[in-house]
Symmetry: C2
Subunit: 196 residues, 2 copies
Amino acid sequence: MISLGANTFTPTTPVWVVGTYDHEGRPNVMTVAWGGICCSKPPCVYVSLRKATYTYGNLLERKAFTISFPSEEYVKEADYFGIVSGRDIDKFSTTKLTPVKSDLVDAPYVKEFPMILECRVIKIVEIGLHTEFIGEIIDSKAQEGVLDENKMPDVKKMKPIVWGLTNMSYLKVGEPIGKSFSIGKQVAVEKSTHDN
Amino acid sequence: MISLGANTFTPTTPVWVVGTYDHEGRPNVMTVAWGGICCSKPPCVYVSLRKATYTYGNLLERKAFTISFPSEEYVKEADYFGIVSGRDIDKFSTTKLTPVKSDLVDAPYVKEFPMILECRVIKIVEIGLHTEFIGEIIDSKAQEGVLDENKMPDVKKMKPIVWGLTNMSYLKVGEPIGKSFSIGKQVAVEKSTHDN
């Protein structure tokens, strides 16, 4: 193994669009890579933000956010949302995407994206350059067209993107290669066969 | 948008293998989906664990962990690491994978996986069913064979996997579809062209 230093290297990260209202009620969106699910009960998700971002102030004030998950076709918009600041620019207007006011939390989401989460901030954790905002997930919503026959969001239909930060590229999500809590059982079988 | 309830639905999650030593110094690994980078300076990563897991106790005691990122060829082993408990089973022995003792932190990593992080726990956040362990990344390491010409880990060579939890499937990572902090600039160009 080659040492690469104290870096935030993971093979892929999320590409998540965080929706908030500012003090004047204007909808804003910002793309983050530092985010993830952090608890199952209550269902919670976090995003980590620098204090310098416009979204940071919005979150402190409104204590609510959404996460909209972009599909492949919106990769340009997702990148753009991470380049410019909502202080200067109305990002919905420039991208011609549509803010929808959540019925459940005080934040807007992106109508055109296939799946979203609506969250209330329940904990704020100071770490260093970034502050972690932990939100309880009040509801998850998906476009009808991305649901499978079990009414579950189908990853192949959502066409999500991930970020390969070590190569500074967005990537598609590819083919399924195994069922979870299932394919691993072969390890035990192979072991016992080998032991016989 | 169709309401799907208060669920931890994201299109994809990490498939990360957390390495720890137990109280007797035995190496253990556990696969988690609740994990992510949460700060750039200091570089920090978290994993969220249920108190019932063996890794939870190891982390409380040792205050150190590694994350090993599996490649496609180890999808079975990664799933297996999330199915069985280190209380009962020596997971390295059953999978014939190799624990390597980190020189920097009190935890083992998986030799066969293409990239790893070595971390010291700096903060423990109680949320609910899951507890978040935030670790400072002391070093990142990769196998020489997955580095690109800039000595950066190449996502195409690492062949990472993600979890599509709404379909209970592991998925490959696909083709790059745009450069970050770059492709989004087209939005502004298109806007100004349209305005002319």
